[in-house]
Symmetry: C2
Subunit: 599 residues, 2 copies
């Protein structure tokens, strides 16, 4: 298939664009292979480039032969309306947008065509491999209890796992293979994080215990071997007890207690991933409703249940963190498939416990380890988003694009929102600002970078993403980009940070959910951005002035030296021409700059 | 009455203090004439001083002879619990707190005893008089249309008006006296604000038209004279049409249209002030409920109706501002008494229209003009607050303190919250930060300063506040205090700022309502405070460095001069000892600092 077949009309003039904030602009519309481009051809007005991959739904309101209105709803929540004159142009553009936004063949997507115009200092594709990420645990010769296993190097043991996983040293690959058969999708228990002391966080999928309560000695050996002598552990199940019971009937279930005697099971339910997108749809719908009264708005936020998901996720993560940090106990976390709530909880627990995860690089590494390499199926989950659910939008492309109903979810966005909440509560403990979270949200849905393509490492290898596309991390870690992601208030905090999950402590992520809302005079983000900008500017001026002062100081010293050589001064400062008090002040200043830099 | 009669037990040791955030501290309790003082006597732990005037309710939970628990709920929303051993001590302390927090005699209050330890540069009592505030309008000899009338100099025409009011020049005092008899409480129409062009904002109370539709030629003359030839005006009624109709039956009502032919009446209802305190009580109650789920919390915020009041107030103010600015029409605003919603709307319209009101001094002047001098009855309204309404708290002092039921309200807090909302939406357009709004809230309820004592200027004169107490403005305008009130992001903006009143644009003032909430890890305020602190610190460092650079520069020049005199250098910079390129940079730096300061 060629793009040319999908683009019957590539350019239309005199299109009326209605933006989210009620503006109406005459634009030229251009459908390229990867972008919908709208340009007003006025000076000072930016062009609007929308990646086809960002388009969630394309709604048509035809108006006979005259043409019609196309409503484009994007995965980043932007909604634009395009009034196109002429029925054929209208139909062609709408068809193109539908086709191009639901392409099946991933190699046709923009990341495979995007070539950066800058030099990369570091390749993000190789920045976070298992060996370096777990290097502290695996120092050869040390008394290490863990090893990297390559049993899954051809992805045959577990299709959604990476080629390298960290497992107890005394467990051999055969045991892993046997254990994998006892876990849904082959996701046998592996190491996620090692906390101070010896407590560790493991994650897996549910055991295939079934109604008869099957057992698997290899899985038991693997799990039980994690606990040192006299230690106990917790199995945190992200499903309710009744849901876990129901799962038994379908061949899943829980670890039979008798065979995991030192592990205590705790149910800390989080809604299944299918519910997240429904909640998001309701929330975004409310944000776009201009007719809403103040009562209705808060009701709708509440009824969307989004903040309840946030709360439940943080609650469960706090429990896991508590077990690890305060009880010194190890934790195995799983739900059913181990692809959504399991990853959510495991990654949030690390944000709480591990200060490294609160740095830019640390967050990137966390997303790599706990989402990408852990096999969160981004392509399936993000194929469509909140505008496609609920049935009000017709998605003509959805049949042919092979979406398995129920596979779409926004678990990763829920994770980002939870991090946002912790960030709000500990605004100085994060090296990154919340803009990075917004960027991760955007790029996880549509991007010029290949990072979030595919469902697992196997997909990524098969697509040769590391060769054929650029990594998002390569971009974010560039010195030109990095400063814009920095939290100017950051003060490294090595402590565990316990977020409050009281309802009044959780706030709506307005910067994200309301930025394209019709009522877009959004104070909080403007305010934070202005503050951040002001701090950055002052920091720069400060540096500039300090370097000027240093230069002046050098010049002064040179002059003094020369003056002494020529006998003008006996010794520096002792008889300088300016009055003595001023002199002392300057001297003190100099000493301060040298010995105690302000930054 | 002596304080000693009211304080039977002035000091109790070994009291257990339970703070809002669940902490439990052993303290010594001291009841002084004006404060409840709790000190932990530990190093690094601050003492807690609570003005008796700040106490809203004192609840007792006696425990037989053992003593009991006293729950003190403050007007600034703080709640503390004190466990006191010994029945007599418990009863004495509780009695004292009840009596002292409901004193009738205003001259016994703290402002009459407070003596500042600093020198005042400017007396706040004389900083904002009518003559200087309206000086631009009243330049003698100019073609002025307005004059100051002292018809109310002994407060006999209108008890709640100040001695000086601004009225049309062609209206004499006799007409004013006649018109005052046609308005509730004598509040005849006076000038509140003159916008660019000739459109003006007037405010009054409702006309005493009654069911028979009485008229008053003097009132008509006064109101109609405001409009220039060919100009029209709007009467904005803050009551609903039906409420205004009901008022007729009780002798009030609206201006009969026939006699105010160029004035168009618009009803833009805001709830009556009695409703505000109910809403506040519900909101604060929700904020203090730790058992609340996320759903319940949002429901309760919504059901409190607080944000609806905010929205309605802003809506009405926007309408007034629109008439003045976009239609160039004059506006007369009133509700019933003209003491609450009328002042709310008139002052908010000025925040929107007048950039002066967005400065520290301008906000102080606005509060003086439109609230204090305009006769908002602060003592009546703020005698009790949200914990006293709703009947759940018994207020034993309330009978003897002569509170007229229904006279309490929190209209001023509603005004401050509305300003907070506009501030959030235009974070760079305000010279002050939102901390000033919090301070105004606190001091309007209880304070060491006399500014908010009394119900009107007549009260203040009678109490001789300007002699016997210190003005809050004297304090706030001190160079030691002022910087903490400054918005570090301020960039003067002379334009009209139109706030969004869409429900998603209005946010809960968390810094205020949640600061003593049990879930007090309140991110937003921490975040804003941290940002503000960071900017302030950088600003200071910047100034410091700039002055150091200037000193270095002076010293360098002196040295160069001396060197030239001694023949070391031919001319400055031409053959300085450092390399040429470095030299040029320094030179440029110097020029920049001199001619184009960074600040």
């Amino acid at each position: 298939m060629e793009f040319v077949e999908l683009i019957k009309t590539s350019k239309v003039d005199n299109v009326t664009l209605y933006t989210h904030n009620g503006k109406q602009v005459e634009v030229s519309l251009c459908v390229s292979s990867h972008h919908l481009i709208l340009s007003a051809r006025k000076e000072g007005v930016e062009e609007l480039w929308i990646l086809h991959q960002n388009i969630d739904t394309v709604d048509r309101k035809p108006n006979g032969v005259v043409g019609g209105l196309i409503i484009v709803k994007c995965k980043d929540f932007r909604i634009i309306q395009l009034e196109i004159n002429g029925y054929e142009k209208f139909t062609n553009v709408a068809n193109s947008l539908e086709w191009l936004s639901t392409l099946d063949n991933m190699t046709l997507l923009y990341p495979f065509f995007y070539r950066p115009v800058y030099n990369m200092l570091e390749d993000g594709w190789s920045a976070f491999n298992t060996e370096s990420e777990f290097s502290k645990l695996l120092v050869p010769g040390s008394n290490e209890e863990w090893r990297i296993s390559y049993v899954n190097k051809d992805f045959s043991v577990c299709g959604s796992y990476p080629s390298a996983v960290v497992v107890p040293k005394n467990i051999d690959d055969d045991t892993l293979i046997a254990a994998s058969k006892f876990r849904q999708g082959g996701r046998f228990p592996i190491l996620s994080y090692k906390h101070e002391g010896s407590s560790v966080l493991l994650r897996a999928s549910q055991p295939l215990a079934g109604p008869g309560i099957k057992r698997c000695k290899e899985d038991e050996k693997l799990v039980n071997s994690v606990l040192g002598p006299g230690k106990k552990g917790y199995i945190v199940d992200t499903r309710s007890q009744s849901l876990a019971q129901t799962a038994k009937a379908r061949g899943g279930g829980v670890e039979p207690e008798a065979h995991y005697p030192l592990w205590k099971r705790v149910h800390k339910p989080i809604d299944r991933q299918a519910a997240y997108l429904d909640s998001l749809a309701k929330l975004v719908d409310a944000a776009n409703d201009v007719t809403s009264s103040i009562d209705k708005w808060l009701s709708r936020v509440e009824n969307s249940n989004w903040l309840s998901h946030v709360k439940d996720s943080l609650n469960c993560a706090c429990l896991v963190a508590q077990c690890l940090d305060q009880e010194g106990a190890s934790v195995l976390v799983h739900g059913s498939e181990g692809l959504d709530s399991t990853l959510l909880v495991a990654s949030l627990a690390q944000i709480i416990l591990n200060p490294d995860c609160r740095t830019v690089r640390g967050l990137e590494a966390l997303v790599e380890r706990e989402w990408l390499q852990a096999g969160h199926p981004f392509t399936l989950r993000h194929k469509k988003s909140c505008f496609s659910v609920g049935g009000s939008s017709v998605v003509p492309g959805s049949n042919k694009s092979g979406i398995v109903k129920g596979q779409q979810a926004c678990t990763f966005l829920l994770f980002l929102d939870c991090v946002f909440q912790i960030h709000c509560q500990f605004p100085c403990s994060f090296e990154f600002n919340t803009h990075l979270l917004t960027l991760l949200f955007e790029h996880s849905y549509s991007s010029q970078f290949g990072t979030f393509l595919g469902n697992c490492e196997a997909d990524r290898e098969q697509l040769k993403l590391f060769k054929k596309t650029v990594s998002l991390w390569s971009h974010l870690n560039r010195p030109e980009v990095l400063p814009s992601l920095m939290n100017t208030m950051y003060e490294p905090n090595s402590r565990v940070i316990w977020p409050s999950v009281a309802p009044m402590s959780l706030i709506l992520w307005r910067e994200l959910f309301l930025r394209y809302s019709p009522a877009s005079a959004d104070g909080v983000s403007t305010r934070m951005k202005a503050a951040n900008d002001a701090i950055m500017e002052l920091n720069m001026k400060d540096k500039e002035l300090r370097s000027k002062a240093a230069k002046l100081r050098r010049q002064l010293m040179e002059l003094e030296k020369e003056s002494i050589e020529l006998g003008v001064l006996e010794s520096p400062m002792s008889s300088a021409p300016t009055p003595a008090d001023g002199n002392i002040e300057v001297n003190e200043g100099l000493v301060e700059v040298q010995s105690n830099p302000l930054f």
